[in-house]
């Protein structure tokens, strides 16, 4: 299993792996928003948590279709499905690899980009916390969506449409944690709900993803 993780990380950072895509997109969104809205620092402060969360979510969406599509195209997925590693674990590890190459860099970059949006200093910690607990759910839900659409040519469109509604609860709770934190309010309740949502996702979706993957490999 460590082998799959190591291989996926290696493939992601090699040429053509698409490692920087999500980060670059996130950077572009966050840099352009203040230009589009004008120099109203009060407004920027108010919308900063939401914009950062939305940017992270959309960046995450960009690389989802690669989770299984590349392995499906070159036949590795068939071979992995007949190998000793259980498909459920494979799905979980694939999601983890996606998070390590997409979610984690976004978490680390977000506080820095928060400066561009005039995010108050008190809001940095809750924002990072909410992204840290929320982005694993984005990757896991995305892996499920990718398993559903594997084998479809240009399945990216369908994948986004399937995954977007599933992302809504994570977005609402995550952005709420960041917003309350930035406004100096208590954010314990949404943070706990968000953590619960992520734990539930990680516990259940590998099984769902493995089940649909089996159907798609036929």
């Amino acid at each position: 299993m460590i082998a799959v993780l190591a291989r996926d990380l290696k493939l992601a950072v090699r040429a053509g792996g698409g490692f920087g895509l999500a980060l670059a997109f996130f950077l572009i969104v966050v840099v352009l928003v203040p230009f589009a809205l004008g120099p109203d620092t009060g407004l920027l402060t108010r919308i900063a948590p939401g914009v950062l969360w939305l940017g992270a979510l959309l960046s995450c969406l960009l690389s989802l279709d690669r989770i299984f599509a590349l392995d499906w195209e070159d036949g590795s997925l068939d071979l992995l499905a007949t190998s000793p590693c259980p498909l459920e674990l494979l799905c979980a590890v694939k999601a983890l690899a996606h998070w390590l190459t997409t979610g984690l860099p976004l978490v680390l970059l977000a506080p820095v980009l928060g400066v561009l949006l005039n995010l108050p200093a008190a809001g940095v910690a809750p924002l990072t916390l909410s992204l840290l607990t929320g982005t694993p759910a984005l990757s896991m839900i995305g892996a499920f969506g990718a398993a559903l659409t594997v084998g479809l040519r240009r399945g990216g469109l369908l994948l986004s449409l399937i995954v977007l509604p599933l992302y809504v609860p994570t977005l609402i709770l995550g952005a709420e944690v960041a917003r309350r934190g930035a406004a100096g309010q208590s954010y314990e309740t949404p943070a706990l709900l968000l953590a619960g949502l992520t734990c539930g996702t990680i516990a259940l979706l590998p099984f769902a993803a493995a089940a649909v993957l089996k159907v798609n490999l036929r």
């Binding site: 070159d74 036949g75 000793p84």
Partner: protein
Amino acid sequence: MAVSVTDLSVARGGVPLLEAVSFTVAAGEALILRGPNGAGKTTLLRTLAGLQPPLSGRIGVADDAVAFAGHADGVKSALSVTENLDFWASIFGVTDISPALEAFDLAALAPRRAGLLSAGQKRRVGLARLVLTGRPVWLLDEPTVSLDARAVASLMRCLARHLAAGGSAVIASHTDLDLSPARPLDLSGYRARDPAPDRFDEAYS
């Protein structure tokens, strides 16, 4: 008995292709599947590998006994030959890839990026993976495609060694393989009857 198949029917995309297929493959023996394009050789192999369920019938082979090699080689272009084989070795719990490199004459290519290999060389990397699996039943789908005469000879040597060690193989191939003991099985005799119903009502009966 390494593989026993009783009264098996398989379908591809909902269309039945083969029915009432029965055969056994003993340890140390190879079965060569023959039949025209579209006869269902690949579908039969994928069913044996457990990648798709049979329509009906029974397959007597343990899931952890089969090693499958299909049309696609499962070789990552961004990784070197060694890295590709190392990956599969660790999946199957093996540490030493040198037997695989040796069996398919890959030592000289080992440090090269797989994306730069020719189709035949890539195929050799894909086949070398079989050696690493350590599994007794090899399911090979057109293994000789894009291989030159020398590589085919290496494949035959490798297969002969595998059979001599008590392994078995089911191979779909159009070419004559110089392999013994090998038994041919012509699949054209097992073609499923045309399932299309004559009338609309029958389709929903």
